[in-house]
């Protein structure tokens, strides 16, 4: 695949197109896999990032989604299971000049790699983390995942899964994430919008993308994506707007007197009775309540940016000092360091 890495204008983006971000390696996902849609959305979004391919790095773990690293014409590492956020942390600390992305599935990011995910959030590392959630283990051929619903029958849970699933958005908020969003693979425009918002956010940004697995968990999100049902199930969160949904915008979210959230008919509460979405609110409790609004994908489910607040970014206060310290530390400084402390001379 030809790569237009030359002739960039000053922001490096003018000549780049979607195909410039395709590596040319043959994609090897199952036909109909949601990973194709997400990959395509990423490739479509990257030109507008305004960063040349050589300054972008995608770090992935193990799982079907992890293969994405091979298909993007950027620097990429397909590392080990669950560790993409940690690898990306090392890269981002060393190279704050890069745009660093970590990508993985629900098993990769929330099960084996859960510890790294929460700590990347806690540290507010300058990394964009994409969690492709299909609620199943695909690459290992169909076991329960940490986001599978209770009662889910899989190869490893023939009598139904017993365990309560993680809610990735709530988990990230609990870990102190400064940016959390959710999207759906089949809504390309929305995925791109979320990627853009994540990229513009300084610091760690987690985007959960509901992704269909046509083989082991087909149509898990059908009500959110089917033409006939999506309007009644997608609750679009838009900063500064009242939260309402439905074909005619006839339903919405309001807050009860005890602070909990409820889905209401707009005709019952009036426009002024709806909750105004404020993604910039420092207190995460409302974002957390929104994250908990749906108790399963058959319930109306909020998508969009839950939280987008400004927190100090790891390394931003020390990077320049350290970079120039390294530049200036030569043989003379080393000599002084080696000879520090109590020394004595013989002969």
């Amino acid at each position: 695949m030809a790569v237009s890495e030359h002739n960039h204008n000053h922001n490096g983006s003018a000549t780049l197109r979607k195909q410039d971000f395709a590596s040319g390696q043959e994609t090897r996902w199952c036909p109909g896999c949601g990973d194709y849609a997400v990959l395509s959305a990423i490739q479509e979004f990257l030109p507008e990032l305004g960063v040349p391919p050589e300054r972008i790095a995608f770090i992935t773990g193990i799982g079907c989604a992890g293969r994405s690293a091979y298909y993007l014409n950027t620097y990429g590492v397909h590392g080990i299971h669950g560790r993409a956020p940690a690898f990306a942390t090392g890269l981002a600390v060393a190279r704050p000049d890069l745009s660093v992305w970590a990508l993985g599935g629900d098993g990769d990011m929330l099960s084996i790699g859960g510890n790294h995910l929460i700590h990347a959030m806690r540290r507010n590392m300058p990394i964009k983390i994409l969690v492709l959630n299909n609620q199943i283990y695909g690459l290992t051929k169909g076991q329960t995942s940490p986001t599978s619903e209770v009662g889910k029958v899989t190869k490893s849970t023939p009598y139904g899964s017993e365990d309560t699933p993680f809610n990735p958005v709530a988990l990230a908020l609990g870990a102190g994430a400064s940016f959390v969003a959710r999207s759906v693979d089949r809504d390309r425009r929305h995925v791109i919008q979320m990627l853009r918002a994540a990229a513009e956010h300084p610091g760690a940004a987690l985007v959960e993308i509901y992704q269909n697995c046509p083989i082991f968990n087909d149509e898990a999100y059908a009500v959110l994506t089917d033409k006939d049902t999506k309007d009644d199930h997608q609750i679009r969160l838009e900063h500064g707007h009242p939260i309402r949904f439905g074909t005619e915008g006839e339903r919405g979210v309001s807050m009860r007197s005890d602070g909990s959230l409820a889905i209401v008919d707009v005709s019952d509460v009036g426009e002024e009775g709806l909750l105004l979405h404020d993604a910039h609110q420092e207190d995460p409790s409302r974002a957390f309540a929104l994250a908990q609004l749906a108790h399963g994908v058959s319930d109306p489910t909020p998508i969009g940016v839950f939280r987008d607040v400004q927190h100090p970014v790891h390394g931003e206060s020390s990077h320049e000092e350290l970079a120039s310290a390294h530049e200036n530390a030569g043989p003379a400084e080393l000599e002084t360091l080696l000879r520090s402390g109590a020394t004595w001379t013989v002969g």
Partner: protein
């Protein structure tokens, strides 16, 4: 009348409760001894618990120093002089003393309660059980309180806490140490804390003057300066030398150092030391776990930095998968393993050299990598520099083995000239000429692949843990390619043998026995060999720093001797490798007691074979 005894070497052990400041007193005595010009070696011995119950055997903290007017190799097998600050310290150390040794006790601490805590039914100072020793009873606590009386802001309780400085003063007099080194240190350390500063100076000088003016201590030792090779020296422990080596590698390669680590005994001190190296641009991350630490170091290496992680045995278990990824990615990375007694949590503060086979083979699949082991505290500097050199030159993870003994022991280090240190050329890949295809898994004469770092136009590439096609680096499941790549990865590491010094033998005409060691057994082996030779025995010895690949002449050296003895602080791991690799009938000596090997043990093992 005070007698002065001239001796060429002496071993002192200072023991007390872990809250008594024994390590501090030992460290100060060491600095004064170094400045005085003796050769020396030290070893701390402290409990794993942060605050074990006061006054108990379990809570005893000790510091041993061996110093001499000639060159020495170990912190000494047995103490000639024991300072015991309480009954527990006496009880836990008296067993290792030779008859006729000197014991100095803090008499004030030998009360009924402390005696009971130490398990004494009767006071050993009075019951005659110490008759074979020269015992000096000094009321150190009360004399320290008296010396610090009247200092504004110092209660008698505060004053009593300075009794370690009183003991240090006594020792400084007994062994003719310069006092200004210690006084300067106190001045600097407690500047701005006037009452503490004054109390410590007063206690130190009181101890010194006590020795000089009373006749309770009737003996003074004279150990003259050693004839060390000319140069500037400082005293370093293995941790300090290792961290300096890593910083030196960063300066010599011009690569910024990123150190990611998770706290674990006895490696945490490396994390602490490097965290203070900001003036060299060192980036330090305390990771959320061992696996993360390894991945962060590797991520930094992908970004073109010198990525280093450090841990001990349990952490090595966790890092294994990431080290395997580094083998597949063929990126430079250094993994420091400060070994401790295992398995599992084992004995975290006690040394053992039992991770060798894990370092060599402890990964799934065929995942060869260079393994280097430091042999003395000061040589941790060279070992760190060498590990970085090989990692960068050959684009490979390198495991650097230290251990709990090397990390905490100290010895004089002849500070090298920076210009004499090897220069390391990272050879990072330049942007390609127009139209030139970049092959991430092409190889140079060393079989090293290009290190193409993000930010370089035209080199964007994807690599991962999946098997790669030779040259292009694209995913490949082709069997022949896999066999070829496996061989290339192995050959790259094997060829390093041509780039390292040959195994040097300290031989002796007519010797039929070779003692071959690795790691921290170097000191005791050297001292044990010397004893045998002094007694007229014939024996040769050699020491391995490179454990993989082994120096190219290793087989030849081994076959030149009728018998080969391999002392190890494990059940025979190097022995296993040598027997498999060279088909020789080498014999092992194994010590797994959580203590460094003793020169006497090596001497005994040699004498049993010559």
């Amino acid at each position: 009348m005070t007698r002065t005894v001239d001796t060429d070497r002496i071993v002192i052990r200072i023991a007390g409760d872990s809250g008594d400041g024994m390590q501090l007193a030992g460290g100060r005595f060491t600095d004064a001894t170094a400045v005085f010009g003796n050769d020396l070696a030290t070893a701390p011995d402290y409990p794993a618990e942060v605050r074990a119950p006061a006054g108990t055997i379990r809570g005893v903290s000790a510091f041993q120093i061996h110093f001499a007017s000639r060159d020495i190799a170990t912190p000494g097998d047995r103490a000639d002089v024991l300072v015991a600050m309480n009954p527990a310290a006496l009880r836990s150390n008296v067993g290792s003393l030779e008859s006729g040794s000197t014991i100095v006790v803090n008499e004030d601490a030998f009360n009924t309660r402390n005696l009971a805590k130490a398990g004494y039914d009767t006071n050993p100072l009075d019951d005659g059980s110490l008759a074979e020793f020269r015992v000096h009873r000094l009321p150190m606590t009360s004399m320290t309180i008296r010396a610090t009386e009247g200092i504004e802001g110092v209660s008698s309780r505060d004053g009593a806490r300075a009794k370690n400085l009183f003991a240090l003063g006594v020792l400084s007099w007994m062994f003719g140490r310069p006092t200004d080194v210690t006084q300067d240190w106190i001045e600097k350390k407690f500047a701005g804390h006037e009452p503490i500063r004054r109390a410590n100076v007063a206690a130190f000088l009181a101890g010194y003057n006590f020795g000089e003016t009373t006749e309770l201590l009737d003996i003074q030792y004279h150990v003259g300066p050693a004839a060390l090779p000319p140069g500037t020296y400082r005293n370093v422990d293995g941790t300090t030398a290792l961290s300096l080596g890593l910083v030196a590698a960063s300066v010599r390669s011009r690569l910024p150092l990123l150190f990611a680590s998770y706290p674990i005994t006895p490696a945490s001190e490396l994390l602490h030391q490097l965290a203070r190296m900001r003036s060299f641009g060192v980036r330090v991350i305390q990771a959320e776990d061992e696996i993360a630490a390894a991945n962060m170091a590797l991520g930094a290496a992908f970004g073109g930095h010198l990525g280093v992680t450090a841990t001990s045995g349990p952490g090595m278990d966790l890092k294994a998968e990431t080290i395997g990824l580094a083998v597949a990615l063929e990126l430079p990375m250094v993994i420091v393993d400060v070994q401790r007694a295992g398995p599992s949590t084992g004995m975290p503060t006690k040394p053992e050299s039992s991770d060798l086979l894990m370092a060599l083979y402890g990964r799934h699949g065929e995942a060869p990598l260079p393994v280097i082991a430091a042999s003395t505290p000061a040589r941790c500097f060279d070992a760190a520099l060498e590990a970085c050199r090989l990692a960068i030159d050959y684009r490979t993870p390198v495991i650097l083995l230290s251990d709990a003994f090397l990390a905490n022991s100290s010895e004089p280090w002849q500070i090298p000239d920076v210009d004499d240190l090897p220069e390391i050329d990272p050879r990072q890949q330049e942007p390609p000429a127009d139209g030139e295809e970049f092959l991430p898994y092409s190889r140079d004469a060393k079989l090293a692949r290009p290190w193409a770092i993000p930010g370089t136009p035209g080199l964007a590439h994807r690599i991962g843990g999946l098997e790669k096609e030779h040259g292009s680096g694209n995913i490949s499941y082709d069997g022949h390619n896999h066999a070829h790549m496996t061989e290339l990865r192995a050959q790259k590491i094997r060829r390093i043998a041509d780039d390292i010094p040959p195994l040097e033998v300290d031989g002796q005409e007519g010797a039929e026995l070779l003692v071959l060691g690795w790691g921290s057994s170097y000191g005791p082996i050297r001292a044990g060999v010397r004893r045998v030779r002094q007694a007229g025995g014939k024996v040769a010895y050699a020491h391995l720093t490179h454990l993989c690949p082994l120096p190219p002449n290793t087989g030849e050296v081994l076959r030149a001797y009728q018998r080969v003895l391999v002392p190890e602080a494990n059940t025979g791991q190097l022995l296993h490798v040598l027997r498999a690799e060279y088909l020789i009938d080498a014999e092992g000596f194994h010590k797994l007691e959580g203590e460094p090997m003793l020169a006497a043990e090596i001497e005994r093992e040699i004498l049993a074979r010559v």
